[in-house]
Symmetry: C2
Subunit: 345 residues, 2 copies
DNA sequence: CTGTTAGCGCATTCAG
DNA sequence: CTGAATGCGCTAACAG
């Protein structure tokens, strides 16, 4: 079913049908005829033909590292809200933390095409930079700082520093502080949080010893293994700080498996064995995961404005698309330290 | 940059470039020239122009109710694996559990177009049925049983029944059994699980009393509220069975807020106050959420083969697309009851 | 207000 | 093996 056939059936020109579809000048009479034919045939205009012609798709592509993440879903929620309000639809492409796939989907979106792309960044490789430089459509990077595109990112260093100070206060002076980080190729969640964490410890006169550091993937199982290795190979740990709440969930499970209690647990019933406190370990995270809060009652973590970063990213992108805004923007968003089991859901 | 410009720069015809791109006859000499020009210019063929011409995009659209869900991410993982292996890419559209958006994205994909659609179904409305009947591209529905399209779904009724029996065994004879369900408009997670649950209880000589039933949204906060209402308004509850693990997470938090312990908790240290056991409540879920398992040690739940259903769905879809398979399929997948804190990560 | 016309970028005949 | 020509379905001038 094409616009031509509709035109023939309605005894008008294809241009008239096009105008009907796009709200141009058209007489009431022809409008009615066309409407009737379209309804009868269940005709839908071809989006790619239209896009081929207009170069506009009213579509934004969002590239995400994974689907199953509270933080990412908050970002896309923010993006989606803005886009919907401004008449755009949103398509997602998930890369499973695979940098190669990330590039592929970036190209897919560029060619397909969408009007603009938001990349929820993990690592920015040379290929990424090349893409960002040459992209024929506007791109906004969320979650990482880059000068090759407009970006919205979080103060991961500051958050890490705040958490470092908190970790120092959570750990007895004679206890060791452990850190389960993620790859430093991820500047934000990897390098910045860890660097900030070390700075925070230092400002309290503490230090992160290298034997007490592990690297994990962005998955609970991986955090579980890292924590087990910490527990089994090192001694006298007071705090295990994790680079994400998901990793922290794995660490919590590891503690349980080794019969160690979480320091922030507040048993509902008075605990008969108070001396046990001495072997408790605190676990902290980043991201303020609500499912984890629900299940554990809340561990110390950092709340980033993920939804806000999604909103700002979408706004930035649409400003470029619709208004041709040319001035580059690097937007840094703050954070809020969440100390533990306070706050309701 | 178009195929024409490349042709001009390489001193060949656009048809030659097209053949180069698609593996047709071309002399070594011209091949080299074209390759050089393409590399220098960073040219990428326009996907929509190609699609306009070939009617094939090597792209599959997947419509999901939400992004932040372990079960859904497992389904899309399975889909993605199959598609990648067979040379397809995958685009996601998230509807935020909004039936209207679901229809819009279905149409977007149909028109855009992709070669096929997988709908991770929640509720199947009349509009859905109309779409499925008239769709011009193949559609597979995952997670719900429908006769209007090929579908892959889970034995939610059987799972509910198994959980009903387990709940009966978890609850003392004199205790009441509570159920936090989801809307029955969702046939699978709503109606079937609840109906199965009731059947399971009945087979053990128990019954689900209406005052002990609540309806929740698919979110932990909603489960939290439903559980609080149960705890505050009803008495003598032995088990709270929830229609999803996410809801269960909220229920667990509600127990904590009311100072009630989870029945399946195995304190690491001997519990001095054994009598407290009498006021413990068991919480069960569906879905075998790994983050919840990590955080809580594991509650009774049901493991569905989500990844498998994704794999089967994609296979079904590609069979229709590539081989024109015409025989309708309704595929039901089984489940596995997970009793609690056994199993490792 | 309307129809005619001319492409958008590409893949595919069909002669050469 | 190659290039010229044609048209996918649509919209944007333009001339009525």
């Amino acid at each position: 079913m094409t616009i031509k056939e509709i035109a023939r059936l309605a005894n008008v020109s294809s241009a008239a049908v096009s105008r009907y579809l796009n709200g141009g000048y058209i007489s009431e009479e022809k409008r009615a005829q066309i409407k009737k034919v379209i309804e009868e045939t269940g005709y839908h205009p071809s989006a790619q033909a239209r896009t081929l012609r207009t170069k506009r798709a009213s579509l934004i592509g969002v590239v995400v590292p994974k689907i199953n993440s509270e933080s990412i879903s908050r970002v896309t929620e923010g993006i989606g809200n803005v886009l919907a309000a401004r008449g755009y639809q949103m398509l997602l492409a998930s890369t499973d933390n695979n940098a190669k796939k990330e590039i592929e989907y970036l190209h897919l979106f560029e060619k397909y095409p969408v009007d603009g792309i938001i990349l929820i960044g993990t690592m920015i490789t040379a290929e990424h930079r090349r893409f960002l430089k040459n992209a024929r459509i506007p791109v906004v990077v969320t979650g990482q700082n880059t000068k090759y595109a407009n970006c919205v990112y979080h103060d991961d260093y500051g958050a890490g520093k705040a958490m470092g100070k908190l970790a120092a206060s959570l750990s007895g002076k004679h206890k060791h502080i452990a850190y389960i980080g993620v790859t430093r190729e991820d500047k934000a969640a990897g390098a910045s949080r860890e660097d900030g964490f070390r700075a925070g410890l230092k400002s309290e006169g503490r230090e992160l010893e290298e034997e007490y550091v592990r690297i994990s993937a962005f998955r609970a199982e991986s955090g579980y293994e890292a924590a087990l290795s910490l527990l089994d190979e090192e001694t006298d740990i007071g705090v295990i700080s994790c680079a994400t709440d998901t990793i922290a969930a794995g660490a919590i499970r590891a503690l349980r498996d080794r019969g160690i209690r979480l320091a922030q647990d507040q048993p509902a019933l008075p605990d008969a064995d108070a001396s046990a406190d001495s072997c408790r370990i605190a676990v902290t995270g980043f991201g303020d995961n609500q499912l984890l809060k629900a299940a554990t009652g809340g561990i110390p973590t950092v709340h980033f404005g993920y939804k806000t970063s999604g909103i700002r990213s979408a706004e930035l992108l649409l400003d470029v698309i619709e208004r041709g805004e040319k001035i580059p923007v690097e937007m840094k968003l703050g954070f809020r330290l969440v100390r533990g089991s306070e706050g309701s859901m």
